[in-house]
């Protein structure tokens, strides 16, 4: 009989090979899926993984999708390290887009170098406000953050829809639910001329560096790690759980808010209802896949950005539903968590002897 046995200590090798294994399993599943649908699997996988990034324009599009994912994931990393299950990045993102848009529409006739920073700041603050609600509900009213953040996501979406159908709707927009186009002074400059890639990617990379500094070099990062690994130890050490919760949530809100602001001031240039194809949710996968590590989330956000453009490519080239993206992302996370089990456990074929399992338990006095 197969038996899971706890490893004496976690496998560091497995920790980093698990994402690769998950990717391989996902690709194999994709291969089978293409076959089952009667499509050429090699062609399909090529269209999904390679064609979209085979030229400069494609790479720029990859960076474009990477930016929001990386920003959201950087904030979520801070939360998840402290075992704060904030799944509200989508809501922070939408509020960031909304806050930035409101500011940009106010300043639509204004020209000046300061317009863009103010617009981005408005978005960042809006994201932080949204995260602060969840944080306050957790620290002062003991509400489960998973449920409150997901509810806030839906509320943010409805708020955005209301604004874009109502107060911010362009009166000359032929009835389309969208805001006016922002002034040029409120738009992010392009990173590579001639492509849509904008400064947002630089924000994302900076955020990843900040995450690295936070956890490798700062005391508050250390405190967050301790809270996540053993909250009682953190309490004994006198690390204020409330203060750390606020810190993590506000960072999460700020980065995702900035991501939303960068999206409306970057590739879109106005507020539209479909500002996010689910970046905030996909960022959760980025964090897990990137092992909650700065470098890891950079690589993972590139891979998941690829799933967005790969899905679009399949839709155009092979007439497949765009939902392939979501399916791929779901499969990847699923395989990842399954493979992750083998970080802590290994498979044994036989049941181990009884005494060893008894001895493994600490005596009452030791605990």
């Amino acid at each position: 009989m197969l038996l899971l046995e706890r490893r004496p200590c976690d496998s560091a090798l497995m920790r980093w090979t698990s994402p690769l294994l998950a990717l391989v399993l996902t690709v194999i599943t994709g291969f089978i899926l293409f076959l089952a649908m009667g499509k050429d699997p090699v062609k399909g996988l090529t269209f999904f993984f390679i064609t979209p990034v085979s030229d400069l324009i494609g790479l720029a599009e990859l960076g474009l999708k990477m930016a929001p994912l990386l920003l959201c994931a950087a904030g979520l990393t801070v939360c998840y390290r402290a075992k704060l299950w904030n799944i509200g990045a989508e809501g922070h993102f939408l509020m960031g887009a909304l806050g930035a848009s409101i500011m940009a529409v106010q300043l639509v006739d204004v020209d000046g170098f300061w317009v863009l920073p103010i617009v981005l700041l408005a978005g960042t603050l809006a994201g932080m406000v949204w995260a602060a609600i969840a944080s306050g509900l957790k620290t002062h009213l003991h509400c489960n953050e998973i449920l409150t953040t997901i509810m806030l996501n839906y509320i943010a979406l409805n708020l955005l829809l209301y604004t874009v159908h109502g107060p911010l709707k362009d009166p000359y927009g032929f009835g389309f639910p969208q805001s006016v186009m922002f002034a040029d002074s409120a738009l992010l400059p392009a990173l590579i001329p001639g492509t849509r890639l904008h400064l947002g990617l630089a924000f994302g990379l900076l955020a990843a560096v900040a995450v690295w500094v936070l956890f490798a070099r700062s005391f508050i990062g250390f405190q967050l790690n301790v809270v996540g690994q053993d909250h009682r130890a953190a309490a004994f050490a006198g690390f204020g759980a409330r203060r750390l919760t606020w810190f993590a949530f506000l960072v999460g809100g700020a980065t995702a808010g900035l991501a939303g602001a960068s999206e409306v001031t970057g590739p879109i240039g106005q507020l539209v209802p479909q500002v996010s194809p689910g970046y905030g949710y996909t960022a959760i996968i980025v964090v897990f896949l990137g092992r909650m590590h700065a470098l890891g989330i950079v690589v993972a956000s590139a891979l998941l950005a690829l799933t967005f453009i790969g899905g679009e490519m399949l839709q155009i080239a092979m007439n497949m539903p765009k939902a392939v993206t979501g399916l791929f992302q779901g499969l990847l996370l699923f395989y990842l968590l399954t493979c992750d089990a083998f970080i802590h456990y290994r498979i044994r074929l036989k049941r181990p002897a009884r005494q060893t399992t008894m001895a493994a338990k600490p005596a009452p006095g030791e605990a």
């Binding site: 899971l4 003991h142 489960n144 509810m151 539903p321 979501g326 399916l327 779901g330 089990a341 399992t357």
Partner: protein, 306 residues
Amino acid sequence: MELLTNVLAATVVAGTPLLLVALGELICERSGVLNLGQEGMMLMGAVAGFVAALTSGSLVVGVAAAVLAGTGMSLLFAFMAVSLAANQYAAGLALTIFGTGLSAFLGAGFVGQSIDGFTRVAIPFLSDIPVLGRVLFDQDPLVYLSLIVFVGVAIFLRHTRGGLLLRAVGEDPEAANANGLKVLVVRYLAVAFGGGMAGLAGAYLSLAYTPLWTENMTAGRGWIALALVVFATWRPERVVLGAYLFGAASILHLVLQGLGWKSSTELLAMLPYVVTILMLVLLSWNPARTRLNTPLSLGQPYRPGR
């Protein structure tokens, strides 16, 4: 009076999908397993039910397919969270993300089609009771089914040996194991029941509530149901009460518009989510009370012979 009766009847209809999925999750959580994948399982139930009903022409086949789809999804979760002792939060989230993606993929070719969904079947005599008759006994068959399941779950939990075993596993898996109970088997069954119910709730949406399929048609109901179980302090009677309360909140915008109140649809559509947060606040502000009601081992993986 006429208006009130109709509003109450609509409340029951709107509350039924919540009731179905929350009853399933209640059983699941009572065994100590927190499955955050409700949304994903509901969506799979909705798409499977719709496609099966459309292609076979039979609503019963649709419902069966939905229950199977929900159960299948939940077994995937059980494999990760129960067998592999993975983090239940992460595994549940994965299930929701996976279910959202897979259902959108499977249903892509069926968007925009419609079927003849379940219609109301009045129960003789009982439906003649004033108000209550229309509200509870002149509904579609799945509403009756949800009430039957509720009674079944309530009796099962409180008055049967099986219910006692389930609660024992949820409160203290170590002790249950020491008494010879197969903890993992009990948890698998509880998770599977939760999955089947979530599938059924999905079918209610795509076969009765709005007989069509659209991406993400559950609109967060799976998550609301999770809050509902907390709200109900893990008791079936309160789940019913809560489900209808949330049902009322979700149709309030229709009622207000019917009364001539002019307000934005989008703003009123926030209401169920706002109500959910308010409920959580009311129930959670006293952590001691929450701890008293929560199944003790909730969210903690169990591995025998540790």
